[in-house]
């Protein structure tokens, strides 16, 4: 088998006029905007591998940050899509505990079949997402404010209803072996099954953004909503669909957490609000919309999880983790800006190579 270099040399010798678009050059690779996120992730991985010792990279250590990444990642993906489309969803922070409490109250407190609880919590996610989307397109109020309102409203609703129905802010949940295996178990005693759900969501969201025409619509809507609508993109329906997907994914995480921990608390999940935004922004998605990639979001999620968990494997006080994340966020955004500018100024390849 010939090496790539030989192939290229042979091609250059026999057919110098063939454009080499099928073979990405180093230049075009460097100009892939995800490179910034990749460098960031490798940097923190190397840092914590050095300071975290052998345990950090062993199965137990890897599981600790992969589990965090999986739960955050399932929410960060649709939040990232929303951000690419020019919207924010803060309500995921209340959606997670609301969904946990829903399944715990229905299938735990009232002993209904687990499937009913699962469907109810996912249905709640879709409903809240629908309400968010509808409010955003009807009121034209920025989605930041709309979802901030639903964040608080939903948190209050969850607390109020939980206390009325169960008299408590924490409800136990016993789920059957099938539900446990599929949604809330540890593989090999360490890795949460949510990891597989994360991988599945990566494939689905990757398909939507890169391969389906909806990806084009999402990018266009985030770039310029008015022009996108004039070009015939159903921006209203698309907005509602995106909010429903982030509601669904947040509900999924809340539901699987309840099954995993065999209980639900009213006040869990607020950390997802900023953590999902941080992961997405580290991943190179433009906060103002119009730009971003699934690879970037995944890398950003991993970076966040590594810093968040890696600190426990080092000799440092865990209180420093937030400082690192803050600095990292700023550095990542600056680096992403640089790589985005490079992608924009991507000059035509030199004439000697292309023609």
């Amino acid at each position: 088998m010939k090496s790539q270099a030989l192939d290229q040399a042979a091609q250059a010798a026999t057919a110098p006029h063939t454009p080499n678009s099928s073979m990405p050059s180093l230049g075009s690779l460097v100009r892939r905007p995800e490179v910034g996120s990749l460098i960031g992730m490798i940097a923190v991985l190397v840092f914590f591998s050095i300071f975290g010792g052998a345990n950090f990279l062993a199965a137990g250590g890897a599981a600790s940050w992969l589990n965090v990444a999986a739960e955050l990642g399932i929410i960060a993906l649709p939040v990232g899509l929303l951000m690419i489309a020019g919207h924010l969803d803060l309500s995921v922070g209340s959606m997670v505990p609301a969904s946990s409490m829903t399944i715990a109250i229905i299938s735990g407190h009232y002993d209904a079949p687990i499937l009913v609880g699962i469907l109810a919590s996912l249905g709640l996610g879709l409903a809240i997402g629908f309400i968010n989307g509808l409010l955003v397109i009807r009121t034209k109020v920025p989605s930041f404010v709309v979802t901030l309102a639903t964040l608080f409203a939903l948190a209050g609703l969850t607390l109020g209803i939980s206390v009325i129905l169960t008299g408590s802010t924490s409800v136990a949940l016993k789920s059957g072996p099938v539900a446990k295996l599929l949604l809330g178990d540890y593989l090999g005693g360490k890795f949460e099954v949510t990891l597989f759900w994360w991988i599945a969501s990566i494939l689905v969201v990757g398909f939507v953004l890169n391969l389906s025409r909806f990806g084009n619509w999402i990018l266009a809507m985030g770039g310029d909503a008015v022009s996108a609508r004039n070009a015939g993109i159903p921006t209203d329906r698309l907005t509602i669909a995106l909010f429903m997907s982030s509601g669904l994914c947040a509900a999924f995480v809340g539901m699987s957490q309840a099954i995993l921990y065999n209980s639900a608390q009213v006040a869990a999940g607020q950390s997802f609000i900023f953590n999902s935004i941080i992961a997405v922004v580290i991943g190179g998605v433009l906060l103002t919309g119009g730009y971003g990639s699934v690879v970037g979001i995944v890398l950003g999620t991993l970076t966040f999880a590594i810093v968040n968990q890696g600190i426990f494997y080092t000799g440092f006080d865990a209180n420093w983790a937030s400082l690192i994340i803050g600095v990292l966020l700023l550095a990542a955004v600056l680096m992403n800006n640089t790589f985005r500018t490079m992608a924009l100024t991507y000059a035509p390849r030199s004439k000697a190579r292309t023609r």
């Binding site: 389906s212 990018l219 266009a220 770039g223 310029d224 996108a228 004039n230």
Partner: protein, 267 residues
């Protein structure tokens, strides 16, 4: 040339108590360039927004191919074959050329059981269409629109309109932000579009650009049509005077010269 492709009769537009357009009648013909001239605030933008379905006229008639039409939305206007290209062309600087070319009309292909966006075909068509308009620098449809020059973006937007079968192409100040060479290129593209039988409405306040490509000229002053003439009927000076609101441009120039002379003395 008997029936105009697009005909406006007695169009008025007011926003509340403010009259913006007053009794505008215009004929737009296939394969002609209509230059819409006027100073800032003369009502050019409002007029093209009526053409492109953004605003509805308060009163007056609009006909296409002899049939009365009323556009409910920009989408409706573009379904009738009216394409509008704004000053900065593509408004999606962070999208690839191929993707932005096909926004809302993406080519798809089968991929197993799934229907996916055909990136390769989109890129090929976009690059080919741009090449036909003389943009040969672009050979990769994956490049971002933001990396193109102003003239190239105009070409991309015009290529898009031509590809999707526009019969009326409205260009809103396409040369305003461009250098001399780039502007010349865009003017050539306008002539190419005209040759294809497209009716071009070219909005500008550059008289030289207008006289270079225009077949037919309309000058707006404070919302009313001040002049309507064909190529060769008026000199450049006469057109410039008209655009300046009927004031003698020569007087303005003399005023500027005396001011410059004063500045010179002080320096």
């Amino acid at each position: 040339m008997t029936t105009p492709l697009l005909k406006l009769t007695g169009i008025n537009k007011s926003f509340g108590p403010v009259d913006v357009l007053h009794d505008i009648s215009l004929d737009v013909y296939k394969g002609e360039v209509l230059c819409l001239l006027g100073d800032n605030g003369a009502g050019k933008s409002t007029l093209i927004k009526i053409f492109s379905g953004v605003h509805k006229p308060t009163s007056g008639e609009m006909e296409m191919d002899g049939k009365a039409v009323a556009f409910d939305s920009p989408r409706d206007a573009s379904d009738h074959g009216i394409a509008t290209v704004h000053q900065f062309g593509g408004t999606f600087p962070l999208m690839s050329i191929g993707r932005s070319f096909f926004i809302g009309a993406e080519p798809t292909r089968r991929w197993g059981p799934l229907t996916i966006y055909d990136r390769k075909r989109a890129n090929e068509i976009a690059v080919t269409e741009m090449r036909q308009l003389g943009i040969t620098r672009i050979d990769d449809g994956d490049r971002l629109v933001g990396g193109l020059s102003g003239g190239e973006r105009q070409a991309l937007a015009i290529a898009r309109a031509v590809h999707f079968g526009a019969s009326v192409l409205i260009l809103d100040e396409p040369t305003a932000a461009l250098g001399v060479k780039e502007a010349a290129h865009v003017l050539r593209i306008i002539l190419q579009a005209r040759k294809k039988g497209i009716a071009v409405i070219f909005i500008t306040h550059n008289v030289v650009h207008a006289l270079t490509v225009g077949d037919h000229f309309a000058v707006l002053i404070r919302g009313a049509k001040a002049a309507d003439f064909r190529k060769g009927e008026k000199s450049r000076e006469a057109v410039t005077d008209l655009m300046a609101g009927g004031e003698q441009m020569a007087e303005l120039e003399a005023e500027i010269e005396s001011f410059a002379a004063m500045q010179g003395e002080h320096a």
